[in-house]
């Protein structure tokens, strides 16, 4: 690659900072990547296919048919427990909201996916680690109910460290609430595809994310119930290589396929079209 050579030469000459603003490095293979290339490649390293965190709105763009997305999520978090740890929850919320540019860890709405009317919900790990409190739970329940009402498929992209501590037992209850709401889809025979991305753990995995008709995982994503640190503490030994990664889950029968982000829309479309009984996917 000419660009890479250039980059290397300039770096050798000490002309530029190690990672100039237009450039970044792949955390996996350390290859320098031109940021625009990375964006165009859906935040997948063009060298080693390492999947980096994917901004939620870009995720929506990558799955929804162009121009069809119409946001329905709109709830804002409250602080029902007046939770304070080293800092009040409300302060943290303000910071998260500023950083992530949204009220809570989820965004989604109506759209077409491969021409199939759908509700698409995307968790945002950039907001409090994508943790699930009342807002995430309620938006997912509403999303499922909206899909049921309007005869739409449901697609949820998970990225979450689990339930949100600052809403304590209320967060826990979101596991039940979201799972129950999926029943409304079942009753209408509408498909639900769950997409697990890095990381999906705790109460999110152990509720709506794990009981879909079809489950896809992005390559190399950390997926599980307990976090690796907790497990290490419990068993007091190192975890095996690849433990709790997508490929491990595939081997253990927990997900249907590990799908490269760049093929995800094709895969989701394939499944939705089949289940809504539509004609054979004519090449997305």
């Amino acid at each position: 690659m000419a660009l890479e050579r250039l980059f290397r030469r300039r770096r050798a000459q000490g002309e530029v900072r190690d990672v100039p603003e237009l450039w970044t490095r792949c955390p996996s293979c350390d290859a320098p990547i031109y940021k625009k290339d990375l964006e165009q490649n859906l935040y997948v390293c063009p060298k080693c296919s390492h999947h980096m965190r994917f901004p939620a709105l870009r995720r929506i763009e990558s799955l929804a048919d162009a121009g069809t997305f119409e946001q329905t999520t709109r709830l804002k978090p409250a602080d029902p427990l007046e939770f304070v740890d080293t800092e009040p929850y409300v302060k943290r919320l303000e910071r998260y909201q500023k950083e992530a540019g949204r009220p809570d860890a989820i965004v989604g709405g109506r759209c077409l996916i491969g021409e199939v009317p759908s509700v698409l919900l995307v968790m945002d790990a950039a907001f409090a680690g994508g943790s699930m409190g009342s807002v995430v739970g309620e938006e997912i329940a509403r999303g499922a109910e909206l899909a049921a009402q309007e005869n739409r498929s449901l697609v949820i992209v998970s990225a979450s460290g689990g339930a949100r501590m600052q809403e304590a037992a209320l967060s826990l209850m979101q596991m039940a609430k979201t799972t129950l709401a999926l029943d409304r889809l079942w009753a209408r025979r509408l498909p639900y595809v769950s997409i697990l991305t890095d990381p999906t753990t705790g109460g999110v995995t152990a509720s709506f994310a794990a009981i879909a008709d079809v489950i896809f995982a992005e390559p190399g994503a950390l997926i599980g119930f307990a976090g690796p640190r907790v497990i290490k503490q419990t068993i007091r030994q190192d975890l095996p290589e690849g433990f709790q990664r997508s490929e491990f889950l595939l081997k253990h029968g927990m997900v249907d396929r590990v799908v490269d982000r760049r093929k995800l829309k094709e895969a989701v479309t394939r499944v939705l079209r089949q289940f809504v009984g539509g004609a054979r996917a004519a090449g997305v």
Partner: protein, 317 residues
């Protein structure tokens, strides 16, 4: 003898002193009634002060106290003719969850619950009440039976959490918890969950999707244990007491939040000080709760449960 909790010590010491004095008075014939009545009054005040103002962290400690009634104690003491059924018909029988058939005052019911050991050896055998996926699959089989034969399903929660280990992850701990939540939500029979001691996160909720959720006065129920919460938010597990306060994980808190429907009173000092009274209170609560549900049809029971959990959560539009 169990090791007393820190806050119990003054009370236990005073109790011992009174008992010794009583014994001395009786044996020696010396009249000590005046002194004794002062001490008894002091004891009463101390008990009221302590037990009437338990901190959340103190309750968590009570919830973990040895001698507190476990699921099997309840199945033996509140129900008649408990008949254990084993196995998940898939992989193994998990001793951390027990269940089977029972009668509650003549009503046939299906029961299950996490089971902690009552001594160290049993605790190891029962994995400290932390179920593997096969335990939840056993619970789901029991839910199937309850549905099939239209009998109420009653679950007892007492777990620090689902087992966080390699074996459990390999066999889909998250998956089976989600499935169990869904299965219980879909029951077309009355479902009651009772938190007996520890209600640790998803591993507790997996069998907690009742039409009604009851809790013993000193039990706790939370998305995370106080220690783990402290380790993450305070970066120090020793701040568990602070975390317990912040998490509002006590029975009165949960009742206020609508997460539980009824608090079952424990005798002064906690269930372990008088298990018989505790079980009697529990039985009354179960019978009254079953009676509340008995006029609902199968679909109504499902919808009632749906509405109950659908409504939980606090947010701003």
């Amino acid at each position: 003898m169990r090791v007393p909790l820190e806050f119990e010590k003054p009370i236990l010491e005073l109790e011992t002193r009174i008992a010794e004095l009583e014994k001395y008075a009786q044996e020696s014939g010396v009249g000590l009634e005046g002194e004794l009545s002062v001490l008894r009054e002091r004891l009463k005040k101390l008990q009221d002060d302590t037990y009437g103002n338990l901190t959340r962290w103190q309750r968590v400690q009570l919830a973990r106290t040895p001698g507190r009634p476990t699921t099997l104690d309840v199945l033996g003491g509140v129900f008649q003719d408990f008949f254990e059924l084993c196995g998940d018909r898939t992989f193994s029988d998990d001793p951390a969850i027990v269940g089977g058939l029972a009668y509650l005052e003549g009503t046939p019911v299906v029961v299950c619950g996490q089971q902690k050991g009552r001594d160290t050896k049993e605790n190891i055998q029962r994995n400290f009440g932390m179920p593997h996926p096969e335990g939840y699959r056993k619970a789901m089989r029991l839910m199937d039976l309850a549905d099939r034969f239209r009998q109420p399903f009653i679950a007892f929660i007492d777990t620090p959490g689902a087992y966080p280990g390699i074996s459990a992850e390999e066999r889909g701990q998250a998956w089976v918890i989600a499935q169990s939540i869904q299965r219980m939500a879909r029951l077309r029979v009355p479902a009651i969950a009772v938190i007996l001691g520890e209600g640790g996160s998803g591993g507790a909720l997996a069998i907690g999707v009742g039409n009604r959720v009851l809790i013993l006065e000193n039990a706790w129920y939370s998305v995370i244990s106080p220690e783990s919460c402290a380790a993450i938010l305070w970066r120090d597990a020793k701040e568990a007491a602070k975390a317990a306060e912040a998490l509002k994980l006590s029975a009165p808190d949960l009742l206020q939040l609508g997460i539980v429907d009824r608090v079952i009173p424990e005798p002064g000092g906690g269930a372990h000080r008088d298990p018989a009274t505790t079980l009697a209170n529990l039985k009354t609560a179960l019978l009254e709760t079953l009676a509340e549900l008995k006029d609902l049809g199968p679909e109504e029971l499902f919808e009632d449960r749906y509405r109950r959990f659908r409504g939980l959560g606090v947010y701003a539009e």
